[in-house]
């Protein structure tokens, strides 16, 4: 039984049909075709598939797609504005904060959720924000440094 699902993805209205009970990860990758979202465990433990749902970080592999009806989803595919990289992306590049790159999309989205709500995070805030995202290349220190750099680089919101 297919069901229709419609939501905003990176500020665009999108719609698809999916098997009832599908998870958001499969709907984004297979239904919509946003391959920037990666699957790592399909059981909600590694953080690789992290996307933002109405600004909150969510594990898309254990998020029911139908529960996202009408909501706003953000993935790393929508992070850059045209040719201009998001400060987080620039900082990740400069800080060598990616090795194999597979956890990077989830890491970036978890970091974006933090910076969106806390523009001046402490190191503890950053560690807390990415504590659900596993990086097996174990590049946590450069990642933390990159997020702090991005916070400093971003235009301050009062």
């Amino acid at each position: 039984m297919k069901t229709s699902i419609q939501f905003r993805l990176n500020d665009e209205e999108v719609a698809t049909f999916a098997d009832s009970g599908s998870n958001l990860l499969d709907v984004l990758r297979e239904g919509i075709g946003d391959l920037s979202v990666k699957g790592g465990c399909w059981q909600g433990t590694c953080g690789t598939c992290t996307v933002l749902v109405d600004g909150m970080p969510r594990l898309s592999c254990v998020t029911l797609a139908e529960s996202c009806e009408g909501k706003s989803i953000e993935t790393v595919a929508g992070l850059r504005q045209g040719a201009k990289l998001h400060p987080l992306q620039t900082a990740f590049m400069e800080r060598f904060a990616a090795q194999c790159g597979y956890c990077t999309p989830g890491m970036l989205m978890a970091a974006k959720a933090l910076l969106d709500r806390e523009p001046n995070p402490t190191r503890e805030n950053v560690v807390d924000a990415i504590c659900g995202n596993i990086c097996r290349c174990t590049g946590y220190e450069p990642i933390i440094a990159a997020v702090l750099d991005a916070a400093r680089a971003a235009p301050r919101r009062s």
């Binding site: 920037s36 790592g40 399909w42 433990t45 850059r80 990740f92 590049m93 990616a98 790159g101 097996r136």
Partner: protein
């Protein structure tokens, strides 16, 4: 963070490095931060089919019967793949370099030898349909006794794990059941050592757990070939292995990879490609075979567990005079790369230290555990852990600073290694000195002034002198009963020279070759 120390061996480096030591951006970084790097699973194909594998729930069992009739009729199922469908259903990875015998089936035939071993595949229109069909397969097993301990596996009458190696040991050069290293006379040296310590080290298997699990997609091409998108770390290794198992010329396979979501050694085993290709051949459709996280943890080969016994003979003045290592590599049920790990391990013994008497026996042992494979320095890493723990214990036993103890025994240019090769390009002393400086670890003057280029060879490690002891024989003691800090007290602020009577004279003996082997190249003078 990166610091170039050109002052070290400065006389040997005329070249001015342009790239080394300079930050350089990775060519794939932009793709990584924008989510556009294409991993194997980021390729899309119409009518993609999915392969899922039925795995053994037993560590060791005989398969009595398989009933897949209901599964083959399940919704969405396109094809069942059985052991008999695999063209060459016995392989070993290193057969590509003529090392070892074919010992592992792609799909088990009559016996399963570890929990998670593949038995049968289902190709279906979705992963879910394939999983549901697997639930309908009925297999009847006769459980067999299993062995999980490397030393148990070597006892007479132990369960035989792998029929290709019935004695549970890999066979080197067609006849040897383990790898040996013999240098000097350890027993004699132990008898004369001031202290003898013996310890047992046991490692655990370690799963690489890359965030991207192992997987591949095999796509029939228009010209009879197959294009294979894969997570492999070893593209040509996987291509040749797939060609062998599928009994097809390798020029019918086009492998595309290189963007790997973490590997660390866990993606060199060609776990998925051969069956994905077989499934694509049998169905004529693109087929994806992707491991679930559970499969990655259970079936994906780990770093093998190792059991290592180290026995050292140490003099009061700090010299290690003998080292004996007995180690067992747990290969699991099939060889994969463990045979090679053992070779690496033996090549690394006795560590970066000049020891005149060395004796090692290292075994590659089969047990009913998940087959082990490569992982970050496998064969060497665990051994180093054991040896460096032992070094600390030795240092404590004779009351010597652990870093100075290492500096004293470190290889120097001209020393004779246990493998009967002269030590060259030694730099442990210099590395340890810099590390000590960075860590504010106090080294006394004599140790700060030590050099890899001075005082090597000769009495220190010459083969002719290897059993000579410069101190009188002392009663052999065990590590546990040894009194600590007997002769090597280190009074605070003391600058008196350490009791190293045995270090050779500063002048190298006639015929010493260090320096001789250095040569100029277009890059300047290098140490070789």
């Amino acid at each position: 963070m990166l610091e170039m120390r050109k002052d070290i061996f400065a006389d040997e480096r005329a070249d001015n490095l342009k790239e080394v030591g300079q930050p350089t951006q990775r060519q794939d970084m932009l793709g990584h931060v924008t989510g556009t790097s294409a991993y194997y699973d980021d390729h899309r194909f119409a009518n993609l089919l999915h392969l899922k594998i039925l795995r053994s729930p037993h560590a060791h069992a005989r398969i009595r019967s398989i009933d897949d009739a209901a599964a083959s009729r399940a919704p969405g199922v396109k094809r069942i793949i059985r052991a008999a469908d695999v063209p060459v259903n016995l392989n070993t990875l290193l057969s590509l370099i003529q090392f070892g015998k074919d010992d592992e089936p792609s799909l088990a035939t009559d016996v399963v030898r570890y929990k998670g071993e593949p038995i049968l595949g289902v190709v279906a229109t979705s992963e879910r349909a394939a999983r549901e069909a697997l639930e309908l397969v009925r297999i009847s097993y006769d459980p067999l006794p299993a062995v999980f301990d490397v030393e148990e596996a070597l006892k007479p009458g132990a369960v035989s794990v792998n029929p290709v190696y019935p004695k549970n040991t890999f066979e080197y050069h067609g006849k040897y059941d383990h790898q040996k290293l013999r240098f000097g006379a350890v027993e004699q040296a132990f008898a004369q050592a001031d202290f003898v310590s013996e310890e047992r080290y046991q490692m655990s298997p370690i799963e690489h757990a890359p965030t991207e699990t192992n997987g591949s997609i095999a796509v029939p091409d228009t010209n009879g070939r197959f294009t294979v998108y894969t997570s492999t770390q070893a593209l040509f290794f996987s291509l040749d292995t797939s060609a062998k198992i599928n009994a097809m010329p390798s020029n019918q396979l086009h492998f595309i990879g290189g963007t790997v979501g973490g590997g660390f050694g866990g993606k060199v085993d060609t776990l998925t490609e051969p069956l994905a290709i077989l499934a694509a051949r049998l169905t004529g459709a693109p087929v994806r075979y992707r491991l679930s996280r559970h499969e990655e943890m259970q079936f994906g080969s780990p770093r093998g567990a190792e059991r290592i016994y180290v026995k050292d003979g140490v003099m009061r003045d700090g010299r290690i005079v003998a080292r004996q290592v007995r180690a067992y590599f747990d290969a699991g049920a099939y060889t994969r790369l463990s045979s090679y790990a053992v070779v690496k391990c033996v090549a690394h013994i006795p560590g970066p230290y000049t020891i005149p008497n060395v004796h090692a026996d290292v075994f590659c042992v089969f047990t009913n555990r998940t087959p082990a494979t490569a992982m970050r320095g496998f064969g060497v890493t665990a051994l180093d852990f054991a040896l460096e723990c032992q070094m600390d214990k030795d240092a404590v036993a004779i009351g010597m600073d652990p870093l100075e103890f290492r500096l004293l025994n470190a290889y120097r240019d001209g020393d004779m290694k246990a493998h009967r090769r002269e030590a060259k390009n030694c730099a442990l002393i210099e590395c340890a000195q810099v590390a000590a400086e960075k860590a504010n670890w106090p080294l006394r003057d004599e140790f700060r002034k030590m050099s890899s280029k001075k005082d090597g060879g000769a009495e220190r490690a010459g083969v002719a002198d290897r059993t000579r002891m410069s101190t009188p024989a002392a009663p052999v003691r065990t590590g546990t009963s040894a009194p600590q800090r007997v002769t090597y007290e280190r009074p605070a602020g003391s600058t008196s020279p350490p009791p190293i009577q045995s270090t050779p004279p500063a002048t190298p003996p006639a015929g010493s070759t260090h320096g001789v082997r250095r040569f100029s190249s277009v890059f300047g003078t290098r140490r070789r």
